[in-house]
């Protein structure tokens, strides 16, 4: 499978939180040839089951990546121009002059209006854009706009997938389609591996609205363990190395209360054995990923979180190193191929592990 082509297809598709229909269909088609069963749950999560070859009942691993993207919504129509509100968190400063798609009665290309410098005064140019002063223009007469657009129609960023230096790629919504791509690539890898556990790949909905898809998917699937894949902050100009991770340095493995220690042990061991570079990401509280919801589903799911370093998150030029997506996929596949019944047993309680750790320290 061509990773760049997969990333292009996934990122250029639209799927604002709560309106994932278009991207869902693309993901579903990508999952079908790689899985034994594909279904869609009531909230809209796409769930693909790839059966393991261990004896039944088999343990299962849930892989989650969210397919929704942050977007806007038409909040008012004035003289043919659209006022907007947000779905998810943009810095309004990246929206000025941005191309968008308005999902009205048909898809309408549009731009976020700007005032040419010829008619602005210098003081005005020092004031940043705020969402309430931004308008979307679809270049149609006001009557036509009224007929085609309703208040409440979603509006997505419009961006083309572009490769940078053959190493990186830029597009909208790599958050979190990069992870969806990694999961697709992982399923493909798994065709070449034997694995005892069932693998349940989920492209979740509404992560940007509070991990809502992961909540129902975790409950519905009730897996033995879970890995959430999301993007993390890539090193870029103006940010300190303390808050970012190296681009093209492999996926991050998250350490902190959100991650299960035994899952991380096995992930790092798998990475080392397969010579896949990885980075350690320490997060002291909520990870802000589907993993945060999955971990506390039902009676608790042992969870790990992988991060793909991303520059310019939540903009139309989110930038990723293509190899990091492939490495995350391979890492998951290597991990999955090493899962056995014994490992399932070690995940059962965290208390016993804590006790063992204390003993180890005393000894």
């Amino acid at each position: 499978m061509d990773t760049a082509q997969l990333l292009k297809e996934l990122t250029e598709a639209c799927g604002p939180s709560g309106y994932e229909a278009e991207i869902r269909e693309i993901v579903r088609k990508r999952f079908i040839p790689l899985a034994d069963e594909v279904r869609i749950d009531a909230l809209g999560n796409v769930i693909a089951l790839k059966k393991g070859d261990g004896p039944e009942p088999r343990p299962s691993l849930l892989l989650a990546g969210h397919m929704d993207e942050i977007a806007m919504i038409a909040s008012q129509i004035e003289k043919g121009f659209l006022h907007v509100a947000q779905i998810g968190g943009f810095d309004a400063r990246v929206l000025v002059g941005q191309e968008v798609t308005v999902h009205g009665r048909r898809k309408l290309p549009g731009v976020i209006a700007t005032t040419p410098p010829h008619v602005t005064n210098p003081a005005e140019r020092d004031k940043p854009a705020t969402l309430d002063k931004l308008f979307v223009d679809v270049g149609l007469p006001p009557t036509e706009v009224e007929a085609l657009v309703r208040v409440g129609d979603p509006i997505t960023l419009r961006a083309s997938f572009r490769q940078l230096n053959g190493v990186y790629a830029t597009s909208k919504s790599f958050d979190d389609r990069a992870a969806v791509a990694a999961i697709v690539l992982c399923l493909e890898e798994l065709r070449r591996y034997r694995h005892a556990w069932d693998v349940v790949a989920v492209a979740t909905v509404q992560e940007e609205m509070g991990m809502r898809g992961a909540k129902t998917a975790g409950f519905g699937i009730s897996p033995t363990a879970a890995i959430a894949v999301d993007v993390t902050f890539g090193m870029q100009n103006g940010l300190s190395p303390a808050e970012t991770y190296k681009m093209d340095g492999g996926p991050t493995i998250l350490y902190g209360p959100n991650a299960h220690p035994r899952m991380n042990e096995k992930l790092t061991a798998s990475a080392k054995a397969a010579e896949i570079p990885y980075q350690v990401e320490a997060v002291s509280g909520g990870s802000g990923t589907d993993g945060w919801a999955l971990q506390v589903s039902r009676g608790g799911i042992p969870t790990a979180i992988l991060g793909i370093p991303l520059r310019a998150m939540h903009t139309a030029v989110e930038t990723v190193a293509i190899r990091d997506v492939e490495r995350a996929a391979r890492l998951m596949a290597e991990f999955i191929s090493r899962l056995d019944d014994a490992f399932a047993g070690t995940l059962e309680t965290r208390d016993a592990l804590a006790a063992a750790a204390v003993e180890g320290r005393n000894g």
Partner: protein, 346 residues
Amino acid sequence: MLLQKLSEATGVSGNEEPVRALLLEAVRGLADECRIDTMGNMIVLRRGTGGSPLRVMVAAHMDEIGLMITQIEDNGVLHFAKVGGIDDRLLPAKPVLIGPRKVNGVVTFKPVHLTEKGERDTVVSWKQLCIDIGAASRAEAEKLVQKGDTAVFATDYCELDTAAGGWRTVAGKAFDDRAGCAVVAELLEDRYPFDLYAVFTVQEEVGLRGARTAAFSVKPDCGIAVDCTGANETPKKKDLSPSTRLGEGPAITIRDNSFIADPRLVDLFFSTGSRLGIPCQSKMPNVGGTDAGAIHMTHEGVPSITMAVPCRYIHAPKGILSLRDFENTVRLGREALRRLPETMKQ
């Protein structure tokens, strides 16, 4: 379509060659003489039918606003300067194409998650922004770009309103002034009573510099700048009329920051408009400037005027214009040129 090709071509002030190449192709067969001066202006002579001794210069500028790469950091990041008037506020998170090979890059921006309190209330100066081309080191970056390369917004041309009787709007970059270039190329299809010098100028956006030298060598009796002008129509709190409006026809300049139009020519354009039943609008005075500002001060002075296609969001990544306005600008220009000798006798 020529407008699309011109819009998608790159030609930041001082680097107009790709645009010139397209126009050279477009006027092939129409030019009685064609030369490119030392500045890079392309001067096309369309000989007259002999009825008038006038020399008339029609000018449209080939250059567009953009960025220039000024520094390459050790970590492969590019710094840039602005070429022409660009509002800093529209630079963050835009894809760009750099240099003659159109290398992909992005004006990268900090994730919203990592902004500090109050930071989002400030405008980030262009000096603090940089371009990411996916290079991990200076050596890697230098394989793709050079200091001094210019960059444009990476914007595709597209049609917005294709409905019969609709606005026929299209969107793209650099309509300022590739729309004007396309109008002038169409004006060359005809012959007029006088010798017409169609000049595709350079460096308008950095101070009307190409038009100045071209007008000096052409030495016209009358100058007409064909430009693309802003239509800032977004709803305002105060009820101010915009400088021009989309769909209301060619915009005629009576006075802007660069010159005062010759009143005879203003009358000519408006009367030609009403004769043809073409809507015309006067551009809000005292805003912007065009090549006419350079032409009218040449030698002992040249009666001049500007006719422009209205366009929303000029000097931004993607503008919107109406092909109806575009075609009406061609029709108005053609007829006004035919009637010009009479006017100049006044």
